[in-house]
Every structure is written in C-alpha cells, then in structure tokens.
C-alpha cells in the first residue's frame, strides 16, 4: 500500500465502480419521461434530443429501466402523451396493416390486477385471490419472493436472491406463474416457472441470441411472449421456452420493450412510443395496427395505455391527458370504443379494474394534494364514489390491486417507510399487513 492517495486516484476508482449505462440512456430517458409526463407537447423532446445527439433515427432501441406498472397483466396504466388526432398508420418499416383477423371471444384469467406499482418503489407483488399472493421483499443483503395463502397472516419465503436483484412476477393463478430475475441487478436475466404455487421452480430458456430481457407476458403455462432490446424483438413460445419464434426480426422497433400485454393467444396490446398510441394485434403479435379511439372533448393531447378485457368482449382502455385520467370502454372485443369517461380526482393512472362494471382508481399518491384513497365505480364509470383511506400520519397509497369488488391490496409509503395494507370492504377501511424481516 502506498502512503498517499490523490484526488485523481479517488476519482478514477469511483468511476470504475460505475457500470456503463444502457445504450442511448438520454434518448431512452427522455422518451420514457415524455410518455409518463402525460402531456402531448412533450413529444417534441424527441426531435430536440435527436438534434442534440445528432441521431438520425431515434427509433428502434430504447427501453425502460424497469418494467412499468402498466405492463402487468390486468393492471392498467398510461404514462405519456398522444395526439388525439386520428392516429397515423405504423411507420413504413413496420408491418403496418391493421389486423384483419376478427377477435374471437376467449377465456381469460380472472381479473386479478397486480399491484399498480410505479418503478422504483422497492417491492412488487401479485395477488390471485383475496387470500393468496406473492410479494417481492427487498432486505439488506437479499431479495426474497414471499408467498401468503392466508391474507398475509403468514408468509413463506420461496426464493431468495442477492440484494438488488430485479424481479418480475407473472402469475396465471394460484399454482402457475413465472418469475424473471436479474441477480444482483446486473448481468443476464433468468426466467423460471412454477406449476405448484411456488414450491418448485424450473428454468425456462430465454430466446437464444436475443438482446436484454425487458418484458414478459404469458397466457398459459406454456404460451407467452418476451420482449428484448439490443436488438429489439418480440419472441413467442408455445412450449414454455423450449422453442422461441422471433416475431419481429428486429423490424418493429420499440413498442414491445415499452410494455405489452396479451389476454389471449391472438390478442394483445403494446405502446407505440413515437406515436403515443396503443397498438393492437389480433394474430398473436405478427401484425399490429393502431387502436382507433374517439377524441376526448376539450383535450388537445392524450395517451392511451394497455386494454384490460374481462371476457372476450368487455374491456376498458385507460387514457391520460396529464391532468386527468379517462377510461374508454368496448363491448365488442376492442373493435370499437365508447366516448371516454373521466375518473374524478385522479391525475395519475393507477387503476384496478375488477369487472366490466367495477373499477377502482387510486387517488392522492405521494406528493399529490388530493387525499389518499380510492375512487370506485360500480356502474362502469357512470358514477364514482370517493373512499378516503384510513392511513395514519403522512402515509399514502402508492399502488393498488383489487382481486374482487371487496378485497384489495395496496402498497403505501410514508415517513415510516413502505408498507402493505389490505381491505376487505372495497377500500372503506385498510389494515396493515406485516411482512417478516428480511436479511
């Protein structure tokens, strides 16, 4: 050891500790923020950014740092802006034809909206019944997957990874589910499947020679999709990863790594980030077209999110203008959409639709002047009821997940730290759920 260390050596050593950021960090960040900011005029960040970076084509490869809340199965979100003018066709380099396949009614899993967490809140969860669900808990040196089958009275640790591990959950029911994780938040991703509620996990091979994993969605134990970036592509499997088909061959650009969701083997949605609109496929992801929506009266710009369908025909599609949140409704499988209804007292999309008639929306998250609680409609959005949450101090709801009109879970945040609460009366009262200490 030498007896003298210089500032230059300190700087050099600190710099070496920093992992290189993902490709085109500035582009990705501004594009993502533009979407989440929720105002149409923010679209012009992109040409500005292109000028700064002398980038001729800010198109194909951008990503989210973490899976956005709106990509979760059954959860709904819309983090950005879209012109409400008649949508333009997909760019010419993309398979742009509107889907011609008629959507067929399909059986979908129960609408168990996952926690509508925004990125960065430190834990994540997935509930499949009022009593049964999973939580990702982050401790000092470890990240754990916790399971409860008794409404949070007891938790069992099913998986444990190094601290900082990034985890994505996707459960189909109380027994079948998938977990994707990046151990320690670094390196490659792994995907595993359970068929017994988490007792045993088996590796699901990810697409060979694919880029960095970004999102996944499965509609059955064996059939699903993953999106990767660098190169951007969407891959499809019908045999739990034994074989993957690259649906996009790198031609579709960025929509899928910005969030996608399928509710059947043929029907799915994704964000088209350069057009601030939702695209839809009716052939399992081979071709995509824009969802046609009525304009919102009095609003100059908006962005739509991912649709949620409760059966083959009835669904909702969220939309934000930045200051307000609207919901479109379809009764014909997404072919046509009604004029949107405005969700009162809500300016950020954090919704938990339970049925075609019963929807919950979170109000007053951290930093909002609105009292924290939920807005609930029992008539498909025609009327809304505000239910303030009985949380103590400065604690506020941060994520919402209802598995029935009465039973729901929510994440909270306050000066006391993050927390988990549960309601059995449709959000009228909330009770704290304790989790075991994590190493």
């Amino acid at each position: 050891m030498t007896d003298r260390i210089t500032a230059r050596e300190i700087a050099s050593t600190l710099e070496k500790e920093i992992e290189p950021p993902g490709q085109r960090l500035s582009e990705r960040t501004l594009a993502e923020v533009a979407e989440r900011a929720g105002e149409g005029r923010r679209r012009s960040w992109l040409p500005a950014l292109a000028a700064v970076l002398l980038a001729a084509a800010v198109v194909a490869t951008f990503s989210l740092g973490r899976e956005a809340f709106l990509t979760r199965s059954h959860s709904v979100g819309t983090p950005g802006a879209r012109s409400t003018a008649v949508p333009t066709p997909l760019a010419s380099q993309q398979p742009s034809a509107q889907p011609t396949t008629e959507p067929s009614p399909v059986s979908t899993p129960p609408p168990t909206a996952a926690l509508g967490l925004r990125p960065g809140l430190g834990f994540d969860g997935w509930f499949v019944t009022p009593d049964s669900g999973w939580i990702v808990a982050k401790g000092n040196t470890s990240t754990s997957l916790l399971r409860t089958t008794d409404a949070g009275a007891h938790w069992s640790s099913q998986r444990q990874w190094p601290g900082g591990t990034v985890v994505r959950l996707h459960f189909l029911d109380a027994s079948s589910g998938f977990v994707a994780f990046q151990a320690g938040g670094q390196g490659g991703w792994a995907l595993e499947r359970t068929l017994d509620g988490g007792g045993r996990w088996t590796r699901v091979p990810l697409p060979a020679a694919a880029g960095q994993f970004k999102h996944l969605d499965f509609v059955s134990r064996d059939e699903g999709w993953v999106a990767t970036q660098d190169p951007v592509s969407l891959h499809h499997t019908t045999d739990a990863g034994a074989h993957w088909e690259n649906l996009t061959a790198g031609q579709l650009g960025g929509p899928f790594i910005n969030g996608f969701r399928f509710d059947s083997p043929i029907r799915g949605w994704a964000f088209h980030w350069t057009n601030w609109n939702t695209i839809q496929t009716l052939d399992g992801g081979r071709t995509w077209g824009f969802v046609q929506l009525p304009q919102i009266p009095g609003e100059s710009a908006s962005q739509t999110g991912l649709a949620v369908f409760f059966d083959g025909n009835s669904g909702v599609l969220p939309c934000t203008t930045g200051n307000s949140v609207y919901l479109y409704r379809s009764n014909d499988g997404g072919r046509t959409w009604t004029s949107p209804v405005k969700v009162p007292n809500v300016n950020t999309v954090n919704l938990a639709p339970v049925s075609p008639e019963v929807w919950f929306a979170m109000t007053g998250t951290v930093g909002s002047p609105v009292p924290t609680g939920v807005e609930v409609t029992l008539d498909g959005g025609r009327s809304w009821l505000h239910r303030p949450a009985n949380l103590t101090g400065d604690t506020r709801l941060t994520g919402l997940d209802f598995v029935s009109p009465s039973h729901g879970w929510a994440t909270t945040l306050g000066s006391a730290g993050p927390g988990l609460v549960r309601t059995t009366d449709g959000g009228q009262t909330w009770a704290e759920v304790r989790l075991p200490p994590q190493p």
Partner: protein, 177 residues
C-alpha cells in the same frame, strides 16, 4: 453551462425542444451520480428517469435568476436516490452489493487501487457522493452544496469528513486532495 440561460428562458416560454436540449447532456452525469449512491445500473437508470420527470414538473419553481440547471437537476437526482434507498424494505443498500462489480486485470494487480476501492466501498453512499461530485464532476464547493442541500461551508465539511473516513478505511494513508 453558460448557454443554459437562453435555454432556460426558452423552456420558461413554453419551448418543448429546449427542455430536451437542456437536459439531454445532464442525464449521463445524473446516472453516474445515481449509480454512485445506489450501486445498481437498473436503479440508477430509474432514478435519473424519475429525476427528469420531476425536473419537468418542477421547472416552474426554478429561480428566475438561475443560469445553470446542473446543480438543481443533480440535487433532484440525489433526492430521488435518497427516497429510493428509504423505500427499500427495512434498510438501505449495503456496500457489499458492489462486490460483484467487474474488475480489470490491470486493476487487480495494483494493490493500492484495490485497497482504495475497498475503502471507498466501505464509505456511506453520501460520502461517496460528495467525493464524486467534487473529484469526478469537479464541482465547486457552492455547487456541491446546492446538490447536497447544504451551504458551501457545509459541503466542505462533508468533503472533509468523507476524506477523513477514507483515511480511516485506508489505515491512515494520507489523502492528497
């Protein structure tokens, strides 16, 4: 950052493109600051993304006589990182997380740097932060203070304490800074 003034005026007047021009060069430094505090690429990218979003929303609160947004933006990044660390379950990131970081063969051969690296990892994230702001970004004390939310004198105190802690971790090795 002398050109910031004109861009700030443009953003204030509603120019969207000015916002992108103003903040695009700040994102990578923001990421590096966030990584210094959080030790994870994914979290650092999330932090800087949230910070840009906050910057957009809070731009109207920027002082009218502001001519550079660098310190203002980095302060938002730092606060976002602090929030993210608080929101982690039960505790904050421990420095052991950084043990998995890659090391170059050359570096492994340099005992001094290995010791220094180990010592830096033992510092609190806020201590690594002040060192990074001062020595890597070369910010003056008053700007370091604005990022940390303290006065210039407070920033010097933070720097002094971080260097003192580093000396302790380096078993009394003199730090020439």
């Amino acid at each position: 950052m002398a050109a910031d003034g004109a861009l700030i005026d443009e953003v204030r007047s509603g120019s969207d493109s000015a916002f992108g021009l103003l903040f695009a060069p700040l994102i990578e430094p923001g990421y590096r600051v966030a990584h210094t505090m959080l030790g994870s690429r994914a979290e650092a990218e999330d932090a800087v993304q949230e910070a840009v979003l906050r910057a957009w929303r809070k731009f109207g609160t920027l002082r009218a006589d502001t001519t550079s947004v660098r310190a203002w933006f980095l302060a938002i990044v730092v606060n976002q990182c602090r929030e993210m660390r608080r929101r982690r379950w039960f505790s904050v990131l421990k420095v052991e997380r950084l043990e998995g970081a890659s090391r170059s063969p050359i570096e492994d051969d340099l005992a001094t740097l290995s010791d220094l690296r180990r010592a830096l990892r033992q510092l609190r994230p806020e201590q690594r932060l002040v060192l990074y702001l001062r020595f890597n970004l070369d910010l003056p004390a008053d700007e370091v203070g604005r990022v940390l939310g303290v006065s210039a004198g407070g920033a010097r105190t933070h720097l002094h304490r971080a260097l003192k802690a580093l000396r302790v971790e380096m078993n009394g090795t003199e730090v020439e800074a």
